[in-house]
């Protein structure tokens, strides 16, 4: 456990030692700030059926920034170690491969969570200024942030897998970006292909991140997406572990 903690803290510190972390943080704060501001000014102009908090988590801005950050967070995880050769000292000390994989995954997850912390402030400021809460209930906040965590876990684990497959960070980023975007659009198919059967649309709907976020941000905690994302994350991490171990295959 101590070894895992040492690896994890190295991963998290690694983010803040590189400019990437600050670029992602600034980019993300700008986009989410604009998002928040636009949603409020939009709602000031007309009557709407949803709350500020729902609007914030379901806007186009939000999704745009959302799919973009994962490749940036995960591309360096393994690819950088392969490139610099630091994988050699790392794998010749008595640590297990799964400790390395989990440390890298959770390191990315910690950074991802740090990324979202400032957005809590938006709602606090809104409450202070407007003198009314941005959501109907505490459950709506909990739901949104839970969904963020679940989606984050899944997309970060995809990023882990693409990073372990190559020593080139750009390639890792491009593959994970394509994979995440594809998955994301899979959920949109139900809105586009209106002529396919309703079963197909329903099936694809189960994979729709937008739909899941819609449900959760209303404060409705559905167990199906939870199981989907947690299990998919585990699958991705198992694959990452296998790919990482492939260097030891006797060919």
């Amino acid at each position: 456990m101590r070894k895992f903690y040492a690896l994890l803290s190295r991963e998290v510190r690694g983010y803040f030692h590189s400019p990437i972390a600050y670029i992602v943080l600034i980019f993300f704060l700008i986009v989410s700030g604009i998002d928040f501001y636009f949603q409020i000014s939009f709602m000031n102009q007309r009557q709407v059926q949803y709350t500020v908090q729902e609007a914030f988590f379901n806007s186009v801005f939000f999704w745009f920034a959302f799919v973009l950050i994962f490749p940036l967070i995960t591309m360096r995880l393994f690819a950088e170690e392969f490139k610099l050769g630091t994988i050699e000292p790392l794998t010749t000390v008595p640590v297990r491969d799964w400790q390395v994989v989990l440390a890298k995954f959770f390191g990315a997850l910690v950074f991802y969570v740090i990324l979202w912390i400032p957005t809590l402030l938006y709602f606090a400021i809104f409450l202070k200024v407007a003198n009314e809460p941005a959501a109907h209930s505490a459950g709506a906040y909990a739901g949104s942030y839970l969904m963020l965590l679940l989606l984050g876990m899944f997309y970060l684990s995809i990023g882990c897998l693409t990073s372990v497959l190559t020593r080139n960070q750009i390639i890792a980023a491009v593959i994970s970006f394509c994979a995440i975007t594809l998955l994301f659009f899979l959920g949109l198919v139900q809105f586009i292909l209106l002529d396919v059967s309703s079963e197909t649309r329903d099936l694809l709907g189960y994979f729709s991140a937008i739909e899941h976020m819609g449900t959760f941000s209303r404060g409705v905690i559905d167990t199906r997406p939870i199981i989907l994302y947690v299990s998919m994350t585990i699958v991705m991490l198992v694959l990452t572990h296998h790919a990482f171990q492939s260097r030891k295959w006797r060919l």
Binding site: R2, K3, Y5, A6, L7, S9, R10, R13, G14, H17, S18, L84, G85, T86, I87, E88, P89, L90, T91, T92, V93, P94, V95, R96, R247, K248, W249, R250, L251
Partner: protein, 311 residues
């Protein structure tokens, strides 16, 4: 400490090392010599469980490096070639991180990190970013890292490459001192290093072990066991013919354009012919300005072994 049996590694069908067999016992300093691409790094990487062998097996302290890799690694301090390091970390920070990974007890980390910094002369750069260090200091960080957990066995891949002569001397002293408590396997290009530090030497060439012995025995084995250089004014005499008559002299090569001739004599091993040469020179009234015995070096051994099939 190390036992290697029929170790073979192929890269895409091309053998990098073939059927290696050797043993390193506790307390030995084993030198690993060979031209570039001979398979030194491959062998060391297999021993450090960085990559698996294609066939054969290797054990460290009785643990198979592939099957019981974790236990084998726990006995090992490994310094990879070119010492890859995280350039965004500071020296102390890095060593503390590595100590934790190697399972050094928490309360001993500060002490151990302090000790290895002292030993490797890193005190003056302890708060610097590794990325800002010179090659020599990076090398020392790698060495300090290998020593952190007080391993039984040190595997050092080219520990002196890229260092200046003073640093090389320091590292040599360090390795010699370490040899009192640790078993060491080190590879290097610098042959005098090996002669001075190692108790045994393996010469590997094209993936095969060509020789494995003490430096002294290796020197005894080769043809050019030694020689004598004579620089003299021989006048009208044919110096070479005269010199050949001395028993023990096998071959004489003559150099020199003017009156001063330079004779390089190949001599049977263990024979000192200098006295005979002196007698001959006084008899013939040769003027002598140099008479030296040249000892064979490991370099001669190395060149002879690794060039034999290229000539």
């Amino acid at each position: 400490m190390i036992k290697v049996e029929n170790l073979t590694k192929r890269y895409a069908g091309q053998p990098a090392i073939r059927d290696l067999n050797f043993e390193v016992s506790r307390g030995e300093i084993m030198g690993f010599l060979g031209p570039n691409g001979a398979g030194k790094t491959t062998t060391m990487r297999i021993l450090a469980s960085f990559m698996p062998p294609t066939s054969g097996r290797a054990t460290i302290a009785g643990f198979d490096v592939f099957e019981q890799s974790l236990q084998a690694r726990a006995h090992l301090g490994y310094m990879p070639e070119n010492v890859p390091l995280y350039s965004d970390m500071r020296v102390t920070e890095y060593l503390r991180y590595r100590a934790a990974l190697k399972g050094v007890q928490h309360r001993r980390i500060t002490e151990r990190v302090g000790d290895v910094k002292e030993l490797c002369g890193l005190k003056s750069v302890e708060n610097k970013l590794i990325g800002a260090l010179s090659k020599g200091y990076r090398q020392r960080v790698g060495l300090a890292d290998a020593l952190l957990a007080e391993p039984d066995l040190l595997i050092l891949d080219e520990p002196t490459i890229g260092l200046d002569p003073n640093q090389i001397r320091q590292v040599r002293e360090l390795i010699k001192n370490l040899g009192e408590q640790h078993t060491i396997l080190l590879s290097t290009h610098i042959l005098p290093e090996v002669e001075m530090t190692c108790s045994r030497v393996i010469i590997i060439h094209k993936g095969r072990i060509e020789a494995c012995d003490t430096p002294g025995n290796l020197l005894g084995k080769i043809r050019q066991a030694g020689g004598v250089i004579l620089e003299a004014k021989v006048g009208m005499d044919n110096g070479a013919d005269e010199l050949k008559k001395i028993s023990g002299v096998r071959e004489v090569i003559t150099d020199g354009e003017d009156d001063w001739k330079r004779f390089s004599l190949r001599v049977e091993s263990g024979v000192d012919v200098r006295e005979e040469i002196f007698r001959l020179a006084t008899e013939r009234h040769w003027a002598v300005r140099e008479l030296t015995q040249r000892r064979a070096t490991l370099e001669d051994v190395f060149v002879e072994i690794t060039h034999s099939d290229q000539a």
